[in-house]
Amino acid sequence: MLAFAGRRLIAFVLTLMAAALVIFLMLEVLPGDPAAVTLGLNAAPEALAALRAEMGLDRPAVVRFLAWVGGLVTGDLGLSYTYRVPVSQLIAERMAVTLPLALMAMTLAAAIGVPLGMLAAANHNRPADAAVMVFAQAGLAIPNFWFGLLLVLVFAIGLGWLPAGGFPGWQAGAGAALRSLALPALALALPQAAILARVTRSAMLDTLQEDFVRTARAKGLGEAATVLRHALRNALIPVVTILGLQFSVLIAGAIIIENVFALPGLGRLVFQSIAQHDLIVVKDLVMLFAALAILVNFLVDLLYGVIDPRLREAA
């Protein structure tokens, strides 16, 4: 297990270094001067030169690359070109929105999708199964931003129960903060729940055909105990894989939902910094997402071992 983890760690670092180089080079060839974006149409050349020097853009590319990577290693992510504050501070502020949002969405998706999938599998080819499959189809087909708008229309404009968007910040109290995350979390959770329902259903159907399930039934175990204790655990591998993939998607991919709900999360920060040519933030965020994706994959591998002891020994 340790040797396995060690090999993964080396691969992890090498992948990150390759990612850093690719990201830097790609942004380097992109046309556009961040200083010109900041100072606008009427800027005097002296002001531009002063700002370029202040941003460190007057140094050669190699020096800037080494400074950036050196900073990443020591935890100094640099100063945002637009906001003029440390990028690490920006990311921390946005994480305080995106992380709870992703966790809420994932919990919701699992709480809806997994039981539905089990229900469908246990009632294979009966009306309950058909109903779940219709839900799953609809959940996948409906774009989540459109579903988000629908939720706003009903719960914010129509009923006035929840805010239509924005985030008051955790200093306004956990209640207020969670209220403003409820609708976006639901909108994000729907397609994920649909996927989970389908995956759980097919994994359960496979497992329910297995000999050990028949044995469990033969020894007189009730249907609920058979499904929950014997089948579910064995059907969880694909479900956990999907959950892991979904988590990276939820962290990095909430761009549209965060825009629809005007949430100050990481997705919106990516969007803004690309539009405003805040290249240093773009670079740091893409690195962060790459690191997160690799980390989550690593954790999922470890989870396999927990769920299925056979994999632990093989590793």
């Binding site: 992109l30 046309p31 556009g32 001067d33 961040p34 010109a36 974006v37 900041t38 100072l39 606008g40 149409l41 009427n42 800027a43 005097a44 002296e46 002001a47 002063a50 700002l51 020097a53 202040e54 637009t82 906001y83 003029r84 504050v85 920006l90 502020e93 946005r94 708008l149 706003v152 229309l153 914010a156 404009i157 006035g160 129960w161 805010p163 239509a164 968007g165 924005g166 985030f167 008051p168 910040g169 209220r179 825009n259 629809v260 709900f261 005007a262 949430l263 100050p264 999360g265 919106r268 920060l269 803004q272 690309i274 539009a275 405003q276 040519h277």
Partner: protein
Amino acid sequence: MTTRREFLAGAGLEALAAQLPVIALAQPKDSVTIAMTLEPPTLDPTSGAAQAIREVTLQNIFEGLVRMDRTGKIVPCLAESWEVAADNLTYRFKLRTNATFHDGTPFTSELVKFSFERAVAPDSTNAQRQLFAPIAAIETPDPVTVVITLKQPTANFLYGLAWGDAVIVAPASAANNKTSPVGTGPFRFVRWNRGDRLELARNDAYWGAKPALAKATFRFISDPAAQVASLRAGDVDAQTNLAAPEAVAQLKADPKLKVAFGKTEGEVILATNNAKPPFNDLRVRQAIAHVLDRKTIALGVYGFDVDLIGSHFSPLHPAYVDLTNTYPPDLAKAKALLAQAGHPNGFTCTLRLPPPAYARRAGEIIAALLAQVGINARIEPLEFPQWLERVFRGKDFDLSVIAHTEPLDIGNYARDDYYFQYRNPEFKALIAKIDVTLPEAERNALYGEAQRILARDAVNGFLFVLPKITVTAAGLEGMWTDWPLPITPLAEVVWR
């Protein structure tokens, strides 16, 4: 989730629950939440061009010697009064004696000198340094007097002092103004949750009239659908300029809201590369002007009528001349002009469009209109940084659509190196004359002449001015509905 009212009602306390709204009404509301489309990158208007910085801070947190009122007039601010000497070179400002910064620093003439010298220092990143270029000397005979001597008479000197780039800052706080601004204005900075909201509170030590609002929150909502939703849900009390013109009818129908249509200084033009064939031929530009049916374009972009322009000048300014009929829509004439210029079958060119919706929508309509006379304009959408780099700085373009939002920016046409590369000695001489002509009537007449020259030469396709669509809660009064300067002063905003 159970709200407090439901809980109380459930506990058999309906009577108390019914009292709650009454208690809330007993005090007049003194806070407001105002949504705007773009978030300011920093909060220092003296080091960056972003309009959003000014919209939040100017006349709220920061003030200049003079300020612009909602009609575009220059009125006293930190300078109580001023005298201009007969030679039009010496300005003597008498300053307020009771103004202080939010950190307690007293406002004095020394700080005026400090602020203006800081703006032109070698390491200054002031986006409008040229405002201060005419200054020869700044003297401070006593703490409440500033004497500024100019190198040559400069008609728009005072006008420029009302801009965000010319606000007065203090040495102790200037370096931190980007993140925690300290000014002399009627509101002080409280908190900024980047990406979401910024909170201001009334400055109780303010030198002028006490604002009605105790607290104001700016929310930053860029998505058009989210803007509409937040207004209709009552999350925000106002939107300074709605980015969803298609939702205007829906919002007007809501009795809780009111919608006002106003003018801005943002001229939208079909920018044309005057140095590049075939656009260096006046006949080609005239032909394009005859094709551009402004009314159709504006209606297609907004779905309602906006103010059309025939030159590079906003109807907000008293010197405005209506020149929209210089080259009326006329396809036959356009074709004839193209034929004379040697392009009887038209030609192919590029139309490079920046991201704003008005530019993308207008661009598609313009391409369709140009196709009628055989001009095949290929649309190339660009991100803003790329647009700045290629079109604006690189002058690598044929046609583009962009709004010029700075007030009174007709003088740009006198700059040879400006991106549309219009070079006309007659026009340059006229602008130079305007710069030294101080009597207003005379100057406005010259501005009229300048507008006529640009219209006649069809330098660019002059389309319309950006509308300002102000949406407010029915009870909210005092918001600016025109934008002679794109700012949102809160001092006069009040609930009725």
